[in-house]
């Protein structure tokens, strides 16, 4: 089973990267959201998003690292001290926003008011995390 997980994870990352790059060029809500997100990321976060379809943030209160993946739900993974991905957190802004806006809202919340953001978030057990 483990043998099949790595290639599938790689395919998923490549598919997300293609989707992200396609959206970036369009004049749609999705594209505007991604451009807004990119303009608020640090150079390092922007490079991570471009190459991996995800970027890391540091929690304002705990100093923990989180990985925010392209998407609008269950797309935040906590990173443990050894660098391994742990369980997921899920919180989103109200209003049915596009992925770029959701990811930017998550970045701002974790980097400025981590405890308050996680207080409203749902925690998804590791068993159900897919990325």
């Amino acid at each position: 089973m483990v043998l099949f997980r790595r290639p599938l994870a790689g395919l998923r990352v490549r598919a997300l990267r293609r989707l992200y790059q396609t959206h970036l060029l369009e004049n749609t809500a999705e594209a505007r959201g991604l451009r807004l997100l990119r303009s608020w990321l640090s150079p390092k976060q922007r490079a991570q998003l471009d190459s991996e379809g995800a970027f890391e943030v540091v929690g304002s209160d705990s100093g923990k690292r989180y990985r925010i993946c392209y998407g609008t739900s269950t797309n935040i993974r906590e990173i443990d001290r050894t660098g391994r991905l742990g369980h997921s957190w899920c919180f989103v802004p109200v209003g049915g926003l596009v992925a770029g806006d959701v990811m930017l809202a998550q970045k701002i919340a974790l980097e400025t008011t981590e405890t308050a953001a996680l207080a409203v978030a749902n925690k998804v057990p590791l068993l159900f995390c897919s990325r």
């Binding site: 749609t28 809500a29 999705e30 594209a31 505007r32 959201g33 807004l36 608020w40 990321l41 640090s42 150079p43 390092k44 976060q45 922007r46 609008t72 739900s73 269950t74 899920c90 919180f91 989103v92 802004p93 109200v94 209003g95 049915g96 926003l97 596009v98 770029g100 806006d101 930017l104 809202a105 970045k107 701002i108 919340a109 980097e111 400025t112 008011t113 953001a117 409203v120 978030a121 749902n122």
Partner: protein, 73 residues
């Protein structure tokens, strides 16, 4: 021109205002308080990729981002 960026389902709405014009500034301040009153979080850049929440209208900030209230997903 300074700018308020409000996230919405269409990506975002942008409102530009002239910091030297009293009427434009008053409109921007009214919008700030209305959005914060509706539960939006106001944020501004404080460095490359660094963000800070702001709690009061500050005409010196060039770009303010308004993020809707967060809920568990």
């Amino acid at each position: 021109m300074a700018m308020h960026v409000v996230m919405d389902h269409a990506g975002d709405r942008r409102h530009y205002f002239d910091k030297e014009d009293a009427e434009s500034l008053a409109e921007a301040e009214r919008r700030f308080h209305e959005l914060v009153g509706r539960g939006f979080t106001a944020a501004a850049r404080v460095g490359p990729g660094e963000v800070s929440k702001i709690h009061a209208f500050d005409p010196a900030i060039e770009e303010t981002l308004f993020v809707p209230r967060l809920v568990g997903g």
